[in-house]
């Protein structure tokens, strides 16, 4: 279980996160929604260690994550798929996937081969294009590659930053569905940041609504969908 308590992250004394507290249950999908600038990306980046919080704590079961390096957090089973289909476009598809599992190459050689085979089964198109440069892929394929890179590290918690951003609705839905299936079949915990609240809440178990760095709602996903006044106030529809 991921427990975030009173998390504050500042950028030159502007509070991007202003005392965030919530829990994300293991094996479920928790989605963080909110308008642009609400602090969603900063929240994910603080959990994965890319940003250093001013105060507060992030716990994954018994392990305190704040103060740890990004690498240590990743090695502890928490993988982030950053915003904007972050793959290394000058490397090939296979190399990008290889990169994700590189730190386990010595210790879990056999499992790494299995993990690679699994992501290729999950996204067959990537297997077809394994020798192409990642830069030559379409937006959807690049997002699949970014997710694959994270998955070969065998994460227990997957942090997804706006996976549907800039994708055609059909492809976005396909990717969200794959995430959903993955969570249900393997017990992966997912923290999904989305601006597109409807797509995210449709698959999520729990929803957290952020506004200006604060949690304004923390409800089961179906209740959040039903609450039209919240949506009107914070999401504008």
């Amino acid at each position: 279980m991921l427990v975030v308590t009173d998390l504050v992250t500042e950028f030159s004394s502007v509070k991007a996160l202003d005392g965030i507290t919530f829990k994300a249950k293991a094996g479920l999908i928790t989605t963080v929604i909110g308008a642009n600038g609400a602090g969603k990306s900063t929240l994910l980046r603080t959990i994965s260690g890319l940003e250093k919080p001013t105060s507060g704590s992030v716990k994954w079961f018994d392990h305190e994550l704040t103060g740890k390096s990004v690498e240590a957090i990743v090695r502890g089973g928490i993988a982030q798929v950053p915003e904007g289909h972050a793959v290394i476009s000058q490397l090939s598809v296979a190399e990008n996937i290889e990169l994700g599992g590189l730190f386990r190459k010595r210790s879990h050689k056999g499992d790494l081969v299995r993990a690679k085979r699994e992501v290729f089964e999950l996204f067959p198109i990537l297997f077809e294009r394994r020798d192409q440069q990642a830069g030559s892929l379409s937006g959807g394929e690049r997002q699949m590659l970014a997710i694959s890179r994270a998955l070969v590290s065998r994460p227990k918690l997957l942090l997804l930053d706006e996976p549907s951003l800039g994708l055609a609705p059909l492809i976005a839905a396909q990717i969200i569905n794959i995430i959903n299936e993955l969570c249900r079949s393997t017990g992966l915990t997912v923290l999904l940041v989305e601006q597109n609240a409807n797509t995210a809440l449709a698959v999520a178990d729990h929803g957290i609504l952020l506004s200006l760095g604060k949690v304004v709602a923390n409800l089961p996903a179906d209740e959040l969908i039903a609450d039209s006044s919240l949506r009107a106030a914070y999401l504008g529809y």
Partner: protein, 303 residues
Amino acid sequence: MTSFLTAFFSGTAQGAIYALVSLGLVLVWRGAGVVNFAQMGQAMFTTYIASQLIQHDYSYWSAFVVALFSGAVLGALVDLGLMRPLTSRKNLKSLNSESMRTAIPVIASLGILGILKSLAGIFWAGEERGFPSPIEPTAIKIGSTNLAITGFDLFVIGVVFLALGLTTIFFTRTGVGLAMRASALNPEVTRLSGIKVGSVRTLGWAISGTVSSLAGLLVTPRTNLSPNTLDLLLIIGFTAAVVGGLTSLAGSVLGGFILGYVISFVSVYSAPENVFIAILIFLLLALFLRPQGILGSKEVRRV
């Protein structure tokens, strides 16, 4: 025809050494965003170490290995002791300016260069001395005709190609090589893949130190050794790196060989005094015509 062959062979042998220097510069530039102007100062220092060992009756090859190893150590030390604290420290934030932040490491590398040169002068009296080669630089003969290439040239070309081959295998076939390429291209995604980008960067400095140390060992039998001997090599190596494209490892090697041929053909067909002017003109032409270099990629800036 003989003068053409002379120019060609000596160009290949010189170019091989320039390729090493240029490769060393590009390795650090890609990994850390710093042009290390102290690079050949480090190489000068390790060549002196080798020279001292040989003077104390150690074999050439043991001195050779020690020099390469100390090149790696020196490179890693420069990164760990100076560059990493300089580029990561909060104090740089007080400079509050991106171009000053890139200027500071360059200035630091000049400081190291000055210190290494003075130390070498103080320790080893600073007079020019010879440096041995394992193979006599006499022309190879077929029958009774002298070829335009010496045994030492062949040795240099052989060693450099071996080194380049090993580097290529390292970068394309090993996991650490992949991690190095990845962290040069995109440090954030690489860190998110659980790779310690800082250590990878230090390794880059170490490899660069080794490669340039090798260049020092291979060039000094011809040029002799003094605290200032290798300055020239740095300049040529830098030009080679710019010509080949600062961002491309293959380009840096290509640039090295091109510079080798330019210098060798100018000194054979024109005069050795014109070499510098040729380098300058060549560099300016390269900057005007193809600023990103032959194999370099255009810098993409996200606004």
